[in-house]
């Protein structure tokens, strides 16, 4: 059973069609990389999955549960959208950490706010908070940030910020973790440490969708690759197929330009 199925997703901004008939699916534990030139719609696709944009047409299923059927005209209530969103996590290109909170507080905040809505919160506040804190500390240690937990974002390097952001997204244990060009705001040296962390997650079978320009990384780490061009899926398959033996002229063109640069 696929963990995620997207069928016939279409999205336009005004007159511009940015995503046209996007369909794909992935299994639990898969790492799906989405590659393609800037403006090909990769980021918009991730934003649709995370309910930051509403597709004009689409059926999105997670574990056979229909999260979104855009043909149903009625808008989801804010409460429903919130619940459905939690199937996905999103790591942003620009981190978007909350500057007034420490690394640890950034990771704890959302889980704590959700815990407040549970019936036992008032009576077991201390235990629940301690559990959330322990969980957040584990995640930060896993990200190699054991000695950075009480630092504020402005005291951290870009790579450290992005690792905090990954821990923050993991804290809510999403079914599918999405990355929107997670290393594009980082210099090459810092890129390495973030990619190492994502590679570690892949090895532990975290289900991930990664929009990236790091071709070598996408080839190594993915179980499945989608090449997007001009709002459409131009080619998809295993990394060996897409990188080793691309069928489409457009894919060859894109990959050769990439090879020239390196």
């Amino acid at each position: 059973m696929p963990i995620l199925e997207v069928e016939h997703l279409r999205k336009s901004f005004g007159q511009t069609l940015v995503l046209d008939d996007i369909s794909f699916s992935m299994e639990a534990g898969d790492t799906l990389s989405i590659i393609g030139s800037s403006g090909s719609g990769k980021t918009t696709l991730l934003r649709c999955l995370n309910f930051l944009e509403r597709p004009d047409e689409a059926i999105i299923r997670v574990r056979d549960e229909v999260l979104l059927d855009a043909s149903h005209a009625d808008r989801l209530s804010a409460q429903e959208t919130r619940k459905k969103r939690l199937h996905f996590g999103l790591v942003f290109q620009s981190f978007n950490l909350f500057p007034q909170y420490t690394a640890l507080q950034n990771v704890m905040l959302a889980e704590e706010l959700l815990a407040r809505e549970t019936p036992g919160w008032k009576t077991h506040k201390a235990e629940i908070t301690a559990r959330i804190r322990a969980h957040a500390e584990d995640l930060l240690r896993e990200m190699g940030l054991a000695n950075r937990m009480n630092n504020y974002p402005h005291q951290l390097s870009g790579g450290q910020c992005q690792r905090v952001a990954i821990a923050r997204a993991l804290a809510l244990s999403p079914d599918i973790l999405c990355f929107d060009e997670p290393t594009s705001a980082l210099d090459p040296e810092l890129t390495g440490e973030v990619l190492r962390v994502i590679r570690g997650l892949a090895e532990r079978n975290t289900t991930m969708v990664i929009v990236t320009h790091e071709m070598a990384f996408a080839r190594d780490v993915s179980s499945h690759v989608i090449f997007m061009d001009d709002g459409r899926i131009c080619e998809q398959g295993s990394p060996a197929e897409v990188f080793g033996n691309p069928q489409q002229e457009r894919t060859r063109q894109f990959l050769s330009r990439y090879r020239d640069e390196n």
Partner: protein, 245 residues
Amino acid sequence: MEQFLQQFPVVFNSLNVGFLQTMKLFFVTLLGALPLGLLLALGEVSRARVLRGAIKVLVWIIRGSPLMIQLLIIYYGPGLLAGSISAEAAESNWFLAFLRSCKWSGGEDGRFTAAAVAFIINYACYFCEIYRGGIQGIPVGQEEAGLVLGMTGWQIFFKVKLLQMIKAILPPISNEIITLVKDTSLARIISLQEVIWAGQAFLKGSQGISGAIWPLFFTGVYYLVANGLLTVGLAKLEKKLSYFR
């Protein structure tokens, strides 16, 4: 010199009483205008188009006209309106009867309430525009990060945006607060017995002192001291919020 030393205790006493009224107006205005301005700002960035338009018009009127005129209209307006309604007309219509009863109570209490209303509305409009800038200046990524973490709109506002907004608006708000200390003197126009009024009394003659202009000059010292203390306090607050960027 001897005359000055004789006058000083009397004047000092009187100015202190006046300045108490000045400070009362200052704090009541802040207490009312800071939250009201936030409500107006939230309305101005909301999706309700009619509300947005209405607030824009209000802000235009209040910021576009002198506070002194607003004070006069708010203080004398209701009385003039009530006076134009005859007793017979009020008897036949409950709404006219209501309007006829809308008057500020006479005396210092009525003047103070009218002044507080005028100052709160006026300063709320200035604060509103500062808040709006603060809200809109927060990167959209902050809101999106909150959304994908399953936060509600209120949680995002109170837990994520509010403190960042306060930090951003503190310098312009400090500026307005310092201006407010001095603007309270405008309430003199409706004879509120604040510090300028108290100083001026000795020019016309009060408590055996007349023709003395120095008490009026001396009121400036009160404003300087108050603003000095405020400047120090606000700078401390700004420093307290410098732990994040």
